[in-house]
Amino acid sequence: MSAPAERRIIFKHIDEEGYSNDIACYQKHGGYEILKKAVTQKPEDLRDEVKKSGLRGRGGAGFSCGLKWSFVDRKSGKPIYLVVNADESEPGTFKDRYIIHQDPHQLIEGTMISCFANDVKQAYIYIRGEFPEGARILEQAIQEARDAGLVGKNICGTEYSCDIFVHRGAGAYICGEETGLIESLEGKRANPRIKPPYFPAVLGLYQCPTIVNNVETLCHVKHILDMGADEYLKIGTPNNTGTRIFCVSGHVQKPGYYEYACGEVTMGQLLNDVCGGPLPGRTFKAVIPGGSSAKILRFGEKFTIKNKDGTTKEWAVEDIPLDFDSLAAAGTMGGSGGVIVMDDSVNMVEALANINAFYAHESCGQCTPCREGSLWMKKISSRMVKGEAREEDGELIKNVADQIAGRTICAFGEACSWPTQSFVAKFGDEFKSYKDDKNSKSSDSLELV
């Protein structure tokens, strides 16, 4: 079975010969026409259209964008802010940076339309500190748009004014969590806020109603208004509309980014047909489908899925259609679209030690379970890798993870515990035998900080 052709909407011009990131090129390709049309419409009509489109957030949680917008407190009398989450930090994810680097005006247009739709007068792009070039490109693009009357005062000659500022983060994963991002934007430590009472839609940036959307999500808004919600609904599957960008990394022949309609390809098609299959002489062992915090899938495991009519079907990993709901049904998530592939050369204890080191390093340290648990998990897995593994370590590390998930202020608790929970659940034998498995014992190069 061969895979269908890519359906590039967001990535339409990425890597296109002759396409540059200046405004002239963007406008030559029809850019900013949607914005010009949008500002003549009623904001609530635009919001309705986005809600109707079923657009789900592309940052990781997959929450309905229209619903998120509908939570905004529009009666508070306070200004409403829109914040673009360009803190793309989830390991295995590299889609937003391409939009920013190669097609920044697409993001700016999507942002401005979303601002107009939500009566926003000030937007911020929060870009991770490790993207200095991206920040520079965005600054320049915003200035171009400002000069063209598309950002700033009296947009497209209307009464509507809205400006965009670029804010660079200082290098922390937790700044991608929306309330942590807001704290950071306010100039504080990025400690996520407790919810309740600090729901961003009501008490967000500077205690004002705030919308935080992912870069890719806002780009989708532009295309929804371009083609209309009804057309957009035809892309993908019900409740999983539009396209998704998959960032495939790891042990495949052709890693890279691929844009498909949600659910249009299965995991097997993506990895075997699109990405060229495993490296010569290797076989696939496991795949993390939505960024490193998503639960891992083991090749060979079977999923019994309930159909709507009550019957059941069985899926292998290869059979899972790549959309939000199917991946959730398989016990993991679509997350940020970062597909991390591991073949039979990988030892799972060592892979987990790597992931655990990342999350222990990135925990903000605010609340107890994540702060202490993430480092404890890292200490256990690092010790195992150093050659001091015990048979009971797998069970212990999973139990530590169980004590974190669901008990923390923000979703980092889940992000740091799901890898451990799923690795041990699916590769428990490797954790048990790691002590004696001399062959798989790591070299000193895996010394984790």
Binding site: A360, W376, G406, R407
Partner: protein, 559 residues
């Protein structure tokens, strides 16, 4: 569901117990009202909610209703409305009650959450209780016993963090013991208004510290030690001095100013080791100033006056001097109500003019007011003075110069600090009744050594006209007499009818003769004090500005 009678009350169910609590109450406080303790570290009732320790996780449920019709969904077995329990545990501190809310504080999930948090808090904790000052009053110890597993599964290296950091002149920090609850940070921001504390580094390596170039030196810094749930912040003064379980606690009042912060004096075998605030939500909440915590040092100060003769002898000598007809008495705004009453009575008996020395400073808007006497209002209420005291006794000085005053009694006041010269003091027969030596005691003909506030009992009336009790924490210096006894003896010697100098007797007399204090006895003043009617003095221009739980009468009137 039973609807509460009052609209500002919300009915909730804590472990099945129904209770109506005020709107806006959180689950920890609501549980407290039914006698259920929800363990916590970061939550403090007088600070904002941080929700970071996760110790107060509870299970939360709401009565089920049909989405479309809003009709309650009933459980056919129990006949009651079904409860929809939220699968994720919620924090008790950050959850405000809503009508019909159900809370489980003892379920399996809650117990597991607490066990987990306890284990996490202890894995990097040094477990140095045997040498830790907090031992005995440590939340980590208490809750590990109450909710922990009792054993450790941690075999890794513990984190290493700074030990013995001097955050300021009075506070020492051990970062390894810190549970990162952020109470001290929030206190500094919200109460002391001195934002100097913060965390640096992240994750499990997060470390409490002062911002570069800053120090925790404000006059409220030691409150961070009080609210630190563990032994991370310790008082540099109290550190390593005494195990807290050996200490006796005595209720007292801070004498620094007319705020009258409620305190506890901690002592053992006649020696005081520390003073901490005592909660009074009408006066000082749970705070007190650092400056009030070292006052106990006056008990063993080098300049304590030691008795050189029997009390009876010195009282006789003093009485004969006071029997001269041209006497003035300088009472004190630091004396208790009882002492001021007896001083006023003495002045009346011998026809002496009476004064009180005013003490003024700048109010800090929190718990130190502009009036640095703890009991100026007592002097007014007991009739010792009828006008606000001044810092300079110029009338008295003029009277001495004019020969109108030839004998002077000072109750604990150094008159040279109140504008009287050494020459003027030399002109009069001087009786000094007080606890410490000074220029006035040096010039006195008769000295009667008395007790400090920590060695005697009595009452003060603070800026709110709240009468508050303090009690003797330690026995008095050998041979030194209680001021109250001295004044009563002088009265008796000067021909007054003996009525007894014990508190009950003096109060019987006060209640009878002082209108504002009628019906009050020492025994019936509650722990949190008693507001009396101060309207008779509302015309006076008191120096106090606004402070915690206090607005000046003029500000109140204009508001």
């Amino acid at each position: 569901m039973i609807q509460p009678a009052q609209p500002d009350l919300v009915t909730v169910y804590i472990d099945g117990k129904e209770i109506a609590v005020p709107k806006g109450t959180n689950v920890i406080e609501a549980a407290k009202m039914v006698g259920t303790d929800v363990p916590h570290y970061c939550y403090h009732e007088k600070l904002s909610v941080a929700g970071n320790c996760r110790m107060c996780l509870i299970e939360l449920g709401m009565p089920m209703a049909d989405r479309a019709t809003r009709e309650p969904i009933m459980d056919p077995e129990t006949g009651k409305q079904k409860i929809n329990w939220i699968p994720r545990p919620q924090i008790g501190c950050g959850t405000t009650v809503v009508p019909g809310m159900h809370v489980k504080t003892q379920s399996k999930m809650v117990k597991e959450c607490r066990e987990g948090v306890m284990e996490f808090l202890l894995i990097n904790h040094p477990l140095d209780c045997p040498i830790c000052d907090q031992a005995g009053e440590c939340k980590l110890q208490e809750q590990a016993t109450g909710y922990g597993r009792g054993y450790s599964r941690f075999i890794e290296q513990k984190n290493v963090k700074p030990k013995r950091t001097q955050l300021g002149p009075r506070v020492t920090l051990d970062d390894e013991r810190c549970v990162l609850c952020s109470r001290c940070i929030r206190f500094s921001q919200e109460v002391a208004k001195d934002d100097v504390l913060g965390f640096v580094d992240r994750g499990s390596y997060s470390t409490l510290t002062c911002y570069p170039g800053k120090e925790l030196s404000n006059n409220y810094s030691l409150n961070t030690v009080d609210i630190c749930p563990v032994g991370a912040l310790t008082s540099t003064d109290f550190r390593f001095k005494m195990r807290v379980w050996f200490l006796k606690q005595t209720d007292s009042i801070d004498t620094e100013s007319s705020v009258g912060a409620n305190t506890v004096v901690w002592s053992r075998e006649g020696e005081i080791y520390r003073i901490t605030p005592r909660q009074n939500d009408e006066v000082n909440d749970t705070w007190m100033a650092d400056s009030g915590r070292v006052l106990y040092k006056e008990v063993q100060a080098d300049n304590r006056l030691k008795p050189s003769s029997e009390l009876a002898t010195s009282v006789s000598a003093a009485a004969s001097l006071l029997d001269d007809g041209n006497v003035a008495i300088v009472g004190s705004g630091r004396s208790s109500v009882e002492e001021q009453f007896l001083t006023a009575k003495l002045a009346k008996k011998i026809g002496a003019a009476s004064y009180v020395v005013g003490r003024h400073g700048e109010g800090d808007g929190i718990l130190i007011s502009a009036d640095r006497n703890p009991n100026t209002r007592g002097a007014l209420v007991t009739g010792l003075i009828s006008e606000l005291p001044t810092t300079e006794l110029s009338q008295l000085a003029a009277d001495i110069d004019a020969g109108k005053v030839t004998t002077l009694l000072s109750v604990g006041e150094d008159l040279t600090a109140a504008g009287l010269s050494d020459e003027q003091l030399a002109k009069v027969n001087l009786v000094y009744v007080g606890s410490h030596s000074n220029a006035t005691s040096a010039a006195a003909t008769v000295i009667i050594p008395t007790l400090t506030v920590f060695e005697k009992s009595g009452t003060f009336i603070n800026q709110q006209f709240r009468i508050q009790k303090f009690k003797s924490a330690v026995p008095g210096l050998k041979g030194a007499a209680d001021d109250r006894v001295v004044l009563a003896s002088l009265l008796e010697k000067l021909g007054d009818e003996a009525k007894g100098s014990d508190l009950a007797s003096v109060w019987a007399e006060i209640a009878e003769t002082v209108p504002a204090l009628s019906g009050i006895s020492y025994a019936n003043v509650p722990k949190s004090g008693l507001l009396i009617d101060g309207s008779a003095w509302s015309g006076l221009d008191f120096p106090e500005g606004e402070s915690l739980h206090f607005k000046p009468a003029t500000a109140e009137a204009s508001a």
